[in-house]
């Protein structure tokens, strides 16, 4: 547990480098930016990332960076808990694990148990795998599920590389989900109808309370509006919708603000989904975050997924969908279904 009475090391003060990744050009480039950090050679990233009893919250305060090579398969079938937006072949890939942001409800807390960030420097190997799969059928690939790639762009350049790769592969559509404020990415990349930039939107109350270190709502909207103005396909994700006292007013105000700042006719689509998390992640979450009201909420376990009680969930999602339907055509609103 984090204490306010002690000082912490600066983020990425310690960089663990896998021996097999040490000579990769990206490793060298990243290390050249952290001259004050301690570099620790390791045999395998899991020796650090997968240790037992790690304190996620504490590590988020002083995260370490792990540079590694992803070996074996790196493209996986999308989870039924996630939305496929009508795509038949829905996959996700991890070119990084762990996020520099710190959202209290994030599934990564339960999935990995480490607040550190792993960057797999061998993106070219993931490209080879995706290239092979694209030859078989059209792929819908989420590349920013296990991290926020835009927030890591200055370190990795992965968003630009994915954007170029997608442009050259007609059978590939990617989604890059973010809570970042960065706009410069849209000056660097070329718009492609198959590279979708998805902004997670929450009321500022939720951002202040549960989405630490992420961009403010107005900054996210500004970035999304800029992307639209530059011709990039933009998705708005009201997902996860979080319950708290006064959520109705907060979400109504959110949609009002979105409509004011974004030309919704130019948005590719929107998604709505209340908070849900696979049951296997909730147990470690509740143990690790005894002070979190999101983790300790008395959810219902339905079909192996912890969710808000059915009536409450329906009310929350219907409220948002009703509000959105007055602004955007029904066929462009996707709801979480599983």
């Amino acid at each position: 547990m984090k204490s306010d009475n002690i000082s912490y090391n600066f983020p990425f003060s310690h960089i663990y480098v896998e021996k097999q990744a040490a000579d990769h050009p990206l490793t060298k480039e990243i290390l050249s930016r952290f001259k004050k950090s301690v570099v620790i050679p390791i045999d395998h990233y899991k020796d650090v990332f997968n240790r037992t009893h790690q304190d996620f919250e504490l590590q988020k305060t002083a995260p370490a960076l792990i540079l590694a090579k992803n070996e074996g398969a790196s493209v996986f079938a999308g989870s039924p808990v996630c939305q496929d937006f009508g795509n038949d072949h829905f996959y996700y890939t991890s070119c990084a694990r762990g996020c520099i942001f710190n959202c209290e409800y994030c599934f990564l807390r339960g999935m990995y148990g480490s607040g550190n960030v792993v960057i797999f420097v061998n993106l070219e190997d993931i490209f080879t795998e995706v290239d092979m799969m694209c030859r078989q059928h059209h792929m819908y690939l989420c590349v920013s599920y296990d991290t926020d790639l835009i927030a890591l762009e200055s370190l990795t350049g992965f968003v630009s590389k994915w954007s170029s790769f997608t442009e050259s592969h007609d059978d590939l559509t990617i989604e890059i989900r973010t809570k970042s404020f960065r706009k410069d990415i849209y000056d660097i990349c070329k718009p492609c109808p198959r590279t979708i930039f998805a902004y997670t939107l929450s009321p500022q109350e939720v951002i202040d309370r549960y989405e630490q270190k992420t961009a403010s709502l107005s900054d996210r909207l500004e970035a999304a509006a800029y992307a639209i103005s530059k011709g990039f396909p933009v998705r708005l994700c009201f997902d996860p919708v979080i319950y708290f006292r006064g959520w109705q007013d907060a979400y109504a105000a959110l949609i009002h603000e979105v409509a004011e700042k974004i030309d919704l006719s130019k948005v590719k689509d929107v998604s709505v989904g209340s908070f849900r998390i696979p049951a296997e992640y909730m147990k470690p979450l509740r143990k690790s975050f005894p002070s979190s009201s999101i983790c300790q909420f008395p959810y219902e376990n339905r079909n192996g997924v912890f969710q808000y009680p059915e009536a409450q969930q329906r009310e929350m999602e219907n409220t948002l969908v009703t509000l959105l339907q007055s602004l955007i055509s029904k066929d462009r609103i996707y709801r979480a279904e599983f």
Binding site: Y8, N9, D47, L58, A62, S293, Q296, P298
Partner: protein, 277 residues
């Protein structure tokens, strides 16, 4: 509480005196020293990874290490090229080649240890004859302590502090107890500062009133499943700043609690839930 493991009595002595630790009179297999206010306990393990591992397990189990409040600290000598006190960020077990990593979240520069004072240590099973790697430290306990402790202690609650006393077998043979004591004493001040810094991170996690929970479960005639649900509601009330005690008091005044059957209990449990959501 700070749990300290030292291999040798000489190393321990440099901390026992300044911390005013008293020898534990309880018949125990290891020389153990305890602070009067129980804020600190120290065990002398004897040299070697196996001895250190056994003593660590004894210490942690006997005094009941608490993950959210306590720290485990290893202070001891090692071989190395350059003298000084070092904070260990990587431990290599020479026999198995396994590696262990204490978390390095805390900034100990106020205690006199900066990032440049960090090193890796190799735990050997014999006194090293020469220093193969000039950046590496060589000790005989760290991997044993880490492996034993990792069952109880999270990686951010383990701190390994090693001071260089010699440069391998030749010098180690010449090292007198007086010289080792002087070396340990030199670094004890920094270790005490580190301990003070770590004490600031000993914040217990707030918990709900367990007695109230138990009584409410009885009042509800709760089954095992209902008790779990009730516990989750107590946790949620605590994290969402809701006054469970007041709510239950009101229900008692309204005659809703206690109930006379499990069936009635379920209805009241649902009412508690509705109040909280």
């Amino acid at each position: 509480m700070l749990y300290i493991v030292c291999a040798l009595p000489i190393e321990a002595k440099s901390l026992v005196l300044p911390l005013s630790l008293r020898k534990d009179q309880f018949s125990c297999p290891y020389e153990t020293y305890l602070a009067e206010d129980h804020s600190c306990v120290l065990v002398v393990s004897g040299p070697g990874a196996i001895a250190a591992s056994a003593a660590t397990t004894y210490l942690l189990t006997r005094f009941g290490f608490k993950n959210d409040q306590d720290f485990l600290l290893n202070f001891g000598s090692c071989a190395g090229e350059k003298g000084g006190l070092y904070l260990i960020h990587k431990i290599i077990d020479q026999a198995t080649s396994r590696t262990f990593y204490p978390d390095m979240c805390y900034d100990l520069s106020v205690s006199g240890l900066t990032l440049s004072d960090e090193r890796a240590v190799t735990t050997c099973y014999q006194v090293v004859s020469s220093l193969e790697d000039s950046d590496m430290l060589y000790d005989m306990e760290a991997s044993g302590i880490y492996q034993a402790a990792s069952r109880f202690v999270p990686p951010h609650r383990m701190v390994f502090l090693k001071f260089v006393s010699d440069a391998g077998i030749v010098e180690a043979g010449q090292l007198t107890p007086e010289a080792l004591k002087m070396c340990a004493d030199t670094h004890a001040t920094t270790v005490l500062k580190v301990m003070n810094t770590l004490r600031a991170a000993c914040t217990p996690i707030p918990t709900f009133d367990e007695a109230l929970y138990n009584q409410t479960a009885l009042d509800l005639c709760a089954s095992e499943t209902m008790s779990h649900e009730l516990r989750q509601l107590f946790r949620y009330a605590l994290t969402s700043d809701q006054d469970m005690e007041n709510l239950l008091q009101t229900m008692k005044q309204d005659g809703k609690l206690p109930v006379s059957s499990k069936r009635e209990g379920k209805v009241v449990l649902d009412e508690i839930r509705q109040h909280l959501l």
